[in-house]
């Protein structure tokens, strides 16, 4: 049986831990609200641009634009979105494991698979593994700005057009709700219009006499790189919202567990205290008895 003093210290320390996890939960909940707003507002915009590309690309040759052209996948890039900070449950582990598994599955059929990583946690995970790591972005989170998404997007487009990579994927946690995040691995480049959730009514009959201003080529030229930036931004927003949701849930659980532990320890402490009192009483009584004798 642990001593009374050590029990008291443990109860104190678990109570402090609970204070911290509870505070972290509240902070995550507040940030989640912002992040959720961002992603919910962003989605229609991102999907609309996808729809427009789908319509533009209908009836176009795949080589109408370099970003639409399929090449034999020899060199592959995967952009992995993780977080800078931990204590978010399985958030980082899920996306990292899924990416690692994907890389293992596809490494044989490709000459070169490289990872670009957003977030310190992803960096730490892959640093110890046998993978090719290219760029690491650790200055983007948690307040994602358009400039950052634009920079990453331009990098990817430039590397793809250059021929450094034949395909580019992005792995991220898609935000479903505060308690649910799904790991997704989606193709960014080449742009496959049918990859996106296309609204059927919009795509209905691609009329052949659509007017383009300035020209179809120029509209595609401007829209495709923009589309990549927007998708990167959307994925970053999804990832940030997922991170906050995951952290909130994890901290909620930690707070509950700390509460249970405190209850258990308090019970143990009271039992030990009672045992000590009983022992003392027995000693007094037996001492008094022996004096009488």
């Amino acid at each position: 049986m642990p001593s009374l003093k050590s029990l008291r210290t443990r109860i104190g320390s678990v109570t402090n831990t609970r204070k911290i996890t509870r505070a972290m939960k509240l902070v995550a909940a507040a940030k989640l609200r912002r992040a959720q707003e961002n992603i919910v507002q962003m989605r229609p915009y991102a999907y609309r641009i996808g729809d427009m590309i789908a319509e533009l690309a209908v009836g176009q040759d795949a080589d109408a634009h370099p970003l639409l052209a399929d090449r034999e996948p020899k060199r592959t890039l995967v952009l992995v979105l993780t977080s800078d900070r931990g204590l978010a449950g399985a958030f980082n582990a899920n996306v990292c494991k899924a990416t690692a598994a994907w890389v293992t599955d596809h490494a044989d059929s490709r000459d070169h698979v490289e990872l670009h990583i957003v977030g310190k946690k992803g960096r730490d995970y892959f640093k110890r593994r046998d993978v090719n790591i290219g760029k690491i972005h650790t200055d983007v989170l948690p307040d994602v700005q358009w400039d950052d998404a634009g920079r990453i997007g331009r990098d990817l487009v430039a590397a793809y057009v250059d021929g450094q990579f034949d395909e580019v994927f992005v792995a991220y946690n898609q935000f479903k709700s505060a308690i649910q995040q799904d790991v997704k691995l989606e193709r960014l480049l080449p742009v496959h219009p049918q990859d996106h959730d296309v609204d059927d009514s919009v795509l209905a009959p691609p009329s052949s006499d659509t007017l383009f201003e300035p020209s179809q080529g120029e509209v595609l030229d401007a829209l495709l790189p923009r589309h990549v930036d927007v998708q990167v931004m959307r994925c970053l927003f999804e990832s940030v919202a997922s991170e906050m949701g995951a952290r909130m849930t994890a901290m909620e659980n930690a707070t509950t567990n700390a509460g249970d532990l405190i209850k258990k320890l308090t019970l143990q402490y009271n039992r030990a205290r009672q045992a000590a009192i009983t022992t003392e009483l027995t000693e007094i009584v037996s001492g008094a008895e022996s004096l009488k004798g």
Binding site: V40, Q41, M42, P44, Y45, R48, I49, M52, E55, L56, W146, S201, V202, A204, S207, D209, T210, L211, F212, E213, P214, Q216, E218, V219, A222, L223, V230, M233
Partner: protein, 137 residues
């Protein structure tokens, strides 16, 4: 016709309209129901959505993006970086931005037509458009 204005900060407008006038990259377009299917790059300027035949149009400041007419003129989608109503425009800030942007442009050493020059030119156009949409030009 059904009109939607979508920005990264959410859907700005969604509803029926009888006419639209918008600034494009190369001028201005007017769209009535039944317009031929079209896709055009937008410029920086006002986008006027008229909901009733003789009513006052609702005006938005639209900063680049695309306008798409589909379903034989029954649906118009405007996808843009930024859409603001006149109420949302801070006139004083726009005036200050205009002065600053003009100073930048006049003092710039970049060749006319270069990328850097275009960025500065766009800042001037955006500030001017904000003032004109807010009715304070």
């Amino acid at each position: 016709m059904q009109v939607e204005i979508v920005t990264p900060a959410g859907e700005k407008y969604s509803g029926e309209a009888v006419a639209i006038r918008a600034a494009t990259a190369s001028g201005e377009v007017g769209i009535l129901p039944g317009h031929r299917d079209m896709m055009t790059a937008l410029g920086t300027g006002g986008c006027h959505v008229q909901t009733e035949a003789h009513g006052e149009p609702t005006t938005f400041l639209v900063d680049q993006g695309y306008l798409q007419v589909s379903q034989r003129g029954a649906k118009v989608i405007i996808v843009t970086e930024r859409a603001q109503t006149p109420d949302e425009i801070d006139v004083e800030a726009a005036r200050a931005d205009l002065a600053a942007a003009k100073g930048e442009l006049d003092g710039s050493k970049e060749a006319v037509g270069s990328e850097a020059w275009k960025v500065k030119r766009h800042a001037v156009a955006l500030a001017e458009a904000r003032l004109s949409v807010a009715g304070a030009s």
